[in-house]
């Protein structure tokens, strides 16, 4: 029996306990996908999972029946390497068949190793090259406002991604144009592909940087559902300013032996580690019995 049966869709705003269980189930799903697809990035996938679960299970105005509804909120996973987190949540919410998850990173799959809009047209855009999502999101927000559309635009980035100058070009643009429909979330797991983001950014504060660029910003524990819910409830933080959530997270969050280790940016878990992780999580992948 899968946990889908145990965890029916929540009728209203789900509680913290429900969301936490959902996040464990999604983590189990992604770990299985990494193993089956022989692709890594689990550290980044697991660190942002709680954020994605909260966004897609009650906060974003998106509907699997009308995935291209004109007033839908736009969500961009700018850190495209964490795509299994998005794929699993989209499948769980009915945006794509759960069976597709088993094809992740296979030849011609609709779910490639970095999200491709040609392969999966319900995406707002392809991603995989860091530093594009916020710029695209600000363009969307500008265009939506111009036509009187009140849809919100959410861009999930990594902290390593904030090394890119283009992120700050976009941040400047969003503030200059008062794009308060934009929510940037930085998955601040502290890990980059090779080093630690704090060291590479000179031990400076991302929240202060966004504030200096004219944004309203807050820092939360991005692996704490109550924290995430409180931050999302406060959006937009200030009228006339874009909002940024610096979500302090742990790479590989939720699985003891994957936590806070750079190696899990690359490592694909062998089957015994998958089993160990699923046991720790107390959850099974949604696409496997």
């Amino acid at each position: 029996m899968t946990l889908i049966a145990e965890l029916p869709a929540h009728p209203g705003t789900p509680g913290v306990a429900w969301l936490e269980r959902k996040a464990r189930q999604m983590r189990a799903t992604c770990i299985q996908m990494a193993h089956d697809g022989h692709e890594g990035h689990l550290s980044s996938v697991l660190s942002c999972m709680d954020l994605l679960v909260a966004l897609y299970n009650y906060w974003l105005n998106v509907d699997p029946i009308l995935p291209k509804a004109h007033d839908r909120d736009r969500f961009i996973l700018s850190k495209g390497h964490a795509c299994t987190a998005l794929y699993s949540v989209l499948a769980d919410r009915g945006f794509l068949p759960a069976e597709w998850l088993a094809t992740y990173a296979q030849d011609d799959s609709p779910l490639p190793n970095h999200p491709c809009k040609h392969a999966l047209p319900i995406l707002e855009c392809s991603s995989g090259s860091l530093g594009h999502g916020l710029g695209i999101g600000t363009g969307m927000a500008y265009g939506l406002r111009l036509e009187g559309n009140r849809a919100r635009v959410v861009v999930l980035m990594s902290d390593g991604e904030c090394n890119e100058g283009s992120v700050w070009e976009a941040a400047m643009f969003a503030a200059a144009n008062k794009l308060d429909s934009v929510l940037a979330i930085v998955d601040n797991n502290g890990l980059q592909a090779v080093g630690r983001s704090d060291a590479l950014m000179g031990y400076t504060s991302l929240e202060e940087k966004f504030r200096a660029f004219g944004w309203a910003a807050c820092t939360i524990n991005g692996n704490n559902m109550a924290d995430i819910q409180a931050a999302l409830a406060a959006f937009p933080f200030e009228p006339g300013r874009p909002s940024a959530i610096i979500a302090k997270t742990t790479g590989g969050a939720g699985v003891s032996f994957m936590q806070d280790q750079t190696v899990w940016h690359y490592r694909v878990p062998p089957i015994e580690e998958v089993e160990q992780a699923l046991q720790e999580l107390g959850a099974r992948p949604i696409h496997k019995e």
Partner: protein, 313 residues
């Protein structure tokens, strides 16, 4: 050409309410009328080319028809990866406008040179690449670019260039016959074409009659026209203001090889080198041997050589 661009853009925005203009902090006073008339459809992004392209992609995803304007070297070189990933990969209908492509800004130095804009943009799948020769071609071609389903790039020169006479209108994707003739075809692209025509007109006054074709659309290459030209001429003199790799000459050379066409090809244009010295554009073109005098001399030599070959046969 800048004025022709600004005027045509203004007209297009009047016809299509989705047309929206982004500039990388360039075009002082050139777009004042646009800004006044269309308000928020004018966006000065600042000196931030990457952001200009990504924002244009976001706008295009939402159904707008963005036009991005900057100096060609910064637009195509600095923001190349944004153009590749965020505009070309999804195939969005964004019109990219490179002010001063080639060596328009010759005297401003290497930082402002863009002899590689055509090669860079032509490397992208689905990108239409246009290098008009005069202001009139901008007026004719730009509206056609807005009807494309995918991305396009257009080189725009300076202010105040004269327009030239041609035998037919400018149609996007089609080579344009500028001067009727025979045996030798001068094939050019971009705003060096008025110089080419000076040379051709001078030759025609002397009784020599080369054909002149303008390939304002470098990509896709009009291979049908090439086949027609090759039937009427045994030599093509290709004049381009582009680096030798990836420009019109190489495209035509590749076509010639694949089509197994026996036509002879010659090239006039800049070499594979940075153009140092801060030369004025006309001086640079003369020194690098692709100005009107150089075209005239090359045509004369080729014409005479052909004659000698024919006599020998």
């Amino acid at each position: 050409m800048r004025r022709a661009f600004a005027d045509t853009l203004f007209e297009m925005a009047g016809q299509d309410p989705r047309v929206i203009f982004l500039t990388g902090d360039l075009g002082f006073q050139v777009f004042d009328a646009f800004q006044e008339r269309y308000g928020d459809r004018y966006i000065n992004v600042g000196v931030a080319e990457a952001q200009m392209i990504c924002a244009a992609a976001g706008l295009a995803f939402e159904g707008w028809r963005p036009t991005c304007y900057s100096i060609a070297s910064f637009l195509t070189g600095r923001a190349f990866e944004q153009i590749r990933v965020s505009v070309a990969y999804p195939g969005l209908p964004v019109v990219l406008v490179g002010a001063g492509g080639g060596y328009t800004y010759a005297s401003s130095g290497v930082t402002h040179h863009a002899p590689d804009d055509v090669a860079l943009l032509s490397s992208l799948p689905g990108m239409t690449v246009v290098t008009p020769g005069d202001p009139d071609e901008i007026r004719q071609l730009l509206p056609q670019m807005y009807r494309l389903p995918g991305p396009s790039y257009i080189r725009v020169g300076r202010f105040g260039e004269a327009s030239y006479e041609a035998c037919e209108p400018a149609v996007l994707g089609r080579a344009r016959l500028l001067r009727e003739g025979e045996r030798l075809a001068v094939v050019s692209s971009g705003d060096i074409t008025p110089g080419v025509l000076q040379a051709v007109d001078r030759l025609q006054a002397e009784g020599l009659s080369p054909l002149a074709y303008h390939f304002h659309t470098v990509k896709p290459l009009d291979t049908e026209a090439l086949a027609r030209i090759a039937e009427r001429a045994d030599t093509l003199l290709i004049v381009e203001e582009s680096v030798p790799s990836g420009g019109l000459f190489q495209s035509i050379a590749a076509w010639r090889a694949e089509a197994e066409c026996p036509v002879r090809l010659r090239r006039l244009g800049p070499p594979d080198a940075f153009a140092l010295g801060g030369l004025k554009r006309e001086v640079l073109r003369a020194r690098l041997q692709y100005d009107a005098d150089a075209v005239y001399a090359a045509c004369k030599e080729l014409w005479t050589a052909q004659r000698a070959l024919q006599l020998a046969a």
